[in-house]
Symmetry: C2
Subunit: 330 residues, 2 copies
Amino acid sequence: MIDDPTNTPAALKGTGFSPPVDDQPEGEALAPEALQSHDRPLAPGLYLVATPIGNLEDITLRALRVLRSVDRIACEDTRQTAKLLGHFGIRTPTVSYHAHNENSRASELIEALKAGGRIAVVSDAGMPGIADPGATIAAEAIAAGVTVFPIPGANAALSALIASGLPAERFSFHGFLPSREGQRRTTLESLRTETRDVPTTDIFYETPHRIADALADIVATFGPQQRIVLARELTKLHEEFLRGTAAELLATLTARPSIRGEIVLLIENSPTPATSSEGVPTSTLADEVTTLMRVESLSEKDALKRVAKARGIGKSEAYREFQRSPSRRR
Amino acid sequence: MIDDPTNTPAALKGTGFSPPVDDQPEGEALAPEALQSHDRPLAPGLYLVATPIGNLEDITLRALRVLRSVDRIACEDTRQTAKLLGHFGIRTPTVSYHAHNENSRASELIEALKAGGRIAVVSDAGMPGIADPGATIAAEAIAAGVTVFPIPGANAALSALIASGLPAERFSFHGFLPSREGQRRTTLESLRTETRDVPTTDIFYETPHRIADALADIVATFGPQQRIVLARELTKLHEEFLRGTAAELLATLTARPSIRGEIVLLIENSPTPATSSEGVPTSTLADEVTTLMRVESLSEKDALKRVAKARGIGKSEAYREFQRSPSRRR
């Protein structure tokens, strides 16, 4: 149970995701500054605070108040966070946490939290804990019985999704695509063959120097007509959305002298048809081999042979595909 | 290409998701109000603006500036948005859009945008276009060549995820669980049997009156020891996270006289073992039937018979499971 008197009263609320409600008459609207009161204490606990992903205005009133009011801010990189804090005139002390010291730093912070402290965690950009090391501190705080408050805000994946024009009712976030071609193709192939009964969008982060290779692999797995969207420099001056087929966007990027800024890559993933456009079965080769081994009691070798024949491919090709399939490891 | 002079200069930026950078000396930090300048015009286009999900402070400085500066705000429900706007003293005219008039309203808004207008779209709460009808307007604006700007902010799914303690490197959002038990179990079962090579978290929204049934179905599909988290009244005074096994949380909720507020339900979904704890194969029955039909050229009936035998279940049970499988429709 949370005792944060600065939240709006629960008695005025309906269902969880209903819009904000307050009984303030419209004529007496509050200015935003009125909400940033410094005289009310913040409840003890760990605050996971979202920070801007490029545009400094993309921070909430509550995030600013929490960053001002906590005892300490644990930062992925204190120099980066110093720029944000300096911009908003926030003088709260910072400490660093990163992949190399997160475990020891977490223990230290948990001790302070157990003593009733109020600590914020921020990553370099966006929501802490998503594709960054903040998750360990949160997990340890939870294990220690400390209250953890999410303070929502900017996130690159969702920002890209809502303006992509692709299905946003359901989506999956996968972090960065693998850097090696074999693994990248395996990842893409397993998404293409997943059973789906509704449209969804698969979201990845990709670096500018690998995006052309990634698009080539999408052409090779999903086909040249696959609909995708690339979002670059999100929330910044040169924010750009590129929408089209995999082949079109590969041509567009290849024609550019250089590509800057990390990229959100979105792949439309519609309900799986019986076979892909090339007539390739949609279940994975490894799944078929596993099924034959179990249901027909075949050896791995015999199962592979039959599946290769049914697919019209050579045994060695079938074996290579089987070797690199993640489902083989089940 | 975007020409929004109110964004921070791109020349000062590094990679896309690097932290915000500015050359303001720390001693001359800007107050937040300084960013809310009204003298710089907003670029023409459609602004998809995130709004609070419960706590009125969960809105960004840029969202407030955009809502103040656009010509019109298209709202899922103008009465709900009026409360938010009134709270912040924003007097921008609003128009409604909802499932029943979204197509005609979208055409009207697109005309205004093509003439150089600046229009914001908001849902009742959170990021517009995710699990709400705002997506149509965005898609039509994109098709008409209008620039679409995402203005990030609060989202219930991500807020729940970062404070859940569950894997947050990869996750899938599925919207609301189906309301009927058969469909709900099919959905859960297909997630359980999906091939995964890394831990991920499946995120759903659920209503308070159905959450106990949903938990019972998780116990029946994933098993009583399945690790899940429920988040209630997110960002509000009575924000609550319940973490434990499916059986524990079912017992906790059943013991309560009532449950209020919509719920974010998070299911930890770890790499699939060879078989579940009950020894049930992890590939779906329908996938196995399809594989046998294709690879062994069996009839549907014969394939079903063999799969039933291999699983040690009756033919009629196998047939029922096959009937309700989404992959059967491939």
